[in-house]
């Protein structure tokens, strides 16, 4: 190391207090860096970068038809991310939202699959409740494993997602397969009363978006204003202080995972009772994982998450557009998402640190 010590070295120095400017600048800076690098990748792949850029980042906002699809996708991402963010702030890393989403969809589908003749406006609200219950039950396994058995919730919740995907396959290829569905792995189409009512006429946007926005407000009140939310945050920021103050860690883990599971399960239910209208293999196009990115990109803050969910939804729609118009593989969206999160996490380091070019103070012996 002695060869470098004479030169000016960039060093990260801890700031006296967190920088607000860096907090606000981190998402746009990360977006610009990720966009530039990904455009470079598209050029290497022989695609027209301007066409891709236009289709991916602008087109979703240019027509009402595509913007309404953006709103439709915002729903599940926003809902899951709000739930996850509460856990992340308590340092409970539930990364199994995908599985909780699937279980929510399965629980909700139980009513229309088992009672296809049932009628009445009570059906869809009960389905949403069942969905939240299913997601919470699936998450509670991870909570039990963590609190009682001390097992890492990251690994357990992820494994549970993989199991959930298999369980969904089992249902759709076996007992829940639509007998008149030409052998496709999907359930029967749901009856009208099993569908969440449409909110904006002539689009697919339904009432669940309003519910999601209301829950976002609830998340904001819970995290910023309530004592329970405060206890969760202290537990995440300063576990020792929280323990000293008598805040129960096990309780915080249960609460975090149950909130995350409820939100993801509700999102799953809203998806089958909304745009899909049946239980399918492809009910989730990675919402559970994308929501992790949404949560971080929104600064784990309920208001920031609304903005990042909208953006991520637009990226999904834009990715579909680019697939059609610029022949860009849909996997490019995942690459974009991953690199965006990576650059955001780097950018956000500057909230707590500042870069200094310092002459090394001493020369270490080789």
């Amino acid at each position: 190391m002695s060869a470098f010590s004479a030169a000016f070295l960039p060093t990260l120095t801890r700031r006296e207090r967190a920088s607000l400017a860096a907090t606000l600048l981190a998402p746009p800076v990360a977006l610009v860096v990720a966009t530039v690098l990904n455009l470079g990748l598209y050029v290497l792949m022989g695609r027209d970068p301007v066409a891709v850029m236009y289709a991916m980042l602008l087109e979703p906002f240019l027509s009402w038809a595509s913007f309404s699809e953006v709103l439709l996708k915002t729903g599940p991402l926003l809902l899951i991310a709000q739930g996850l963010a509460i856990g992340f702030r308590a340092k409970v890393f539930n990364i199994g939202a995908e599985g909780q989403f699937i279980l929510g969809a399965i629980f909700a589908s139980a009513i229309p699959v088992w009672f296809p003749q049932a009628a009445g406006q009570w059906i869809w609200p009960v389905m949403l409740l069942l969905g939240a219950l299913g997601g919470a039950l699936w998450a509670s396994i991870a909570a039990f494993w963590r609190v009682r058995l001390n097992a890492n919730e990251i690994l357990v919740s992820l494994m549970l997602s993989l199991v959930a995907a298999q369980f969904l396959n089992y249902l759709l290829l076996g007992p829940w397969k639509d007998p008149n569905g030409f052998n496709f792995p999907q359930s029967v189409m749901f009856q009208n009363d099993a569908m969440v009512p449409i909110l904006i006429p002539s689009t697919r946007v339904n009432l669940s978006l309003l519910l999601t926005l209301a829950l976002s407000v609830a998340a904001w009140i819970f995290m910023q204003k309530s004592f329970i939310g405060y206890r969760l945050q202290v537990g995440g920021l300063a576990p020792r202080a929280a323990r000293y103050a008598g805040f129960n860690e096990g309780w915080a883990i249960w609460l975090s995972l149950l909130i995350g599971g409820c939100a993801a399960g509700l999102a799953g239910a809203a998806e089958v009772a909304g745009p899909l209208g049946q239980l399918q293999r492809s009910i989730s196009t990675g919402y559970g994982y994308a929501a992790i990115i949404v949560a971080y990109l929104g600064g784990l803050h309920p208001i920031g998450i609304v903005a990042s969910a909208l953006f991520m939804a637009a990226l999904y729609i834009g990715g579909d557009n680019a697939m059609v118009s610029a022949n860009l593989p849909i996997a490019a969206v995942r690459v974009f998402q991953g690199s965006l999160l990576l650059f955001y996490l780097i950018a956000v380091a500057f909230v707590r640190y500042r870069l200094e070019w310092r002459r090394a103070a001493y020369r270490s012996e080789p």
Partner: protein, 303 residues
């Protein structure tokens, strides 16, 4: 061939992706770094190896490409999590998503294509023992993986390098105070882990099942991370754990061959269920984890 013989014959090969990735992650964690991006690193290595072999580069070059590629990707993680002290858990997840995305992107035009595997080498005499003899007919990568396992065990048990890595994982401040460069060693450990994950992915894609399918790693990177916990950061136990998972992942096929009437989805989720159960059993012994765990795991180092 009955079910037991079938599992004995295939266990080591099925265990190899788990073993390579878990050994790499063990070294990373021993140095005090938690890299959760193993799944993505494996997927990235897998696609690089497949493309290389498909275009006639040969298996050796395939493994080199996978090792180098995943090492470079893991260094991106190192720069972010160690250099910029970004949140290690989240950065690992980002690497996982990025690696899987790149894998799907590069592999898109190779979907369902196949390459040739590698021949198996039988150890003389040993492979002729009835029943157990099947264990001694393996491809060259399996033999090399076993050698690597031994080498890593020797490194931690007997060499100074192993001692330095452990010291940095246990108490980075003390290691820094006596003149070791914490960041440099951690970078090297992460790059080693990346290389091993790349090899693991390459083995999965061009030796074990030489057919390209998106998402073919199928959670094996995550199981490898769990294996490090099962093995309580010890080489020998990680080897045994990898063998267990090799056997479990074959059980599905064995059960189907014997005509057992179990839905294939149950068999497919067997490795995940076993992971959840074993993780619970091992972690419940808090003393065991405390004794063998790495004290500074996941914590950024600041002078």
């Amino acid at each position: 061939m009955n079910a037991i013989e079938f599992i004995l014959a295939g266990m080591l090969a099925a265990a190899t992706p788990f073993l390579l990735a878990a050994l790499g992650e063990m070294v990373v964690e021993r140095a005090g770094v938690l890299n959760l991006g193993v799944e993505g690193l494996m997927a990235f290595g897998a696609v690089l190896a497949f493309i290389t072999v498909y275009h006639g580069g040969g298996h050796l070059l395939g493994f080199v490409a996978a090792g180098l590629g995943s090492a470079v990707l893991s260094l991106v993680f190192a720069v972010s999590a160690l250099g910029f002290r970004a949140n290690q858990v989240a950065t690992g997840l980002a690497m996982g998503i990025l690696g899987q995305g790149l894998s799907a992107l590069f592999g898109k035009s190779y979907e369902s294509l196949t390459v040739k595997g590698v021949p198996k080498l039988a150890l003389p005499w040993l492979s002729e023992i009835p029943l157990v003899g099947r264990l001694f007919t393996q491809d060259v990568v399996v033999w090399l993986s076993l050698a690597a396992t031994l080498a890593i065990w020797v490194m931690f048990a007997y060499t100074k390098v192993g001692l330095v890595i452990r010291a940095i994982g246990e108490n980075p401040k003390a290691a820094h105070a006596i003149g070791h460069s914490v960041i440099a060693v951690r970078f090297a450990a992460v790059a080693f882990g990346g290389t091993m994950a790349g090899f693991a992915g390459a083995y999965a894609a061009v030796v074990y099942t030489p057919l390209w399918a998106d998402g073919m790693i199928a959670g094996r990177g995550w199981i490898a991370i769990a294996l490090v916990v099962f093995g309580t950061w010890l080489t020998g136990r990680i080897f045994l754990g990898a063998c267990l998972f090799g056997a479990v992942s074959l059980m599905g096929l064995a059960a189907q061959a014997t005509g057992l009437d179990v839905p294939s989805q149950v068999l497919a989720s067997l490795p995940y269920l076993v992971t959840i159960i074993v993780l619970g059993v091992i972690s419940a012994d808090r003393r065991l984890l405390k004794l063998n765990g790495v004290a500074s795991l996941g914590e950024p180092f600041e002078r």
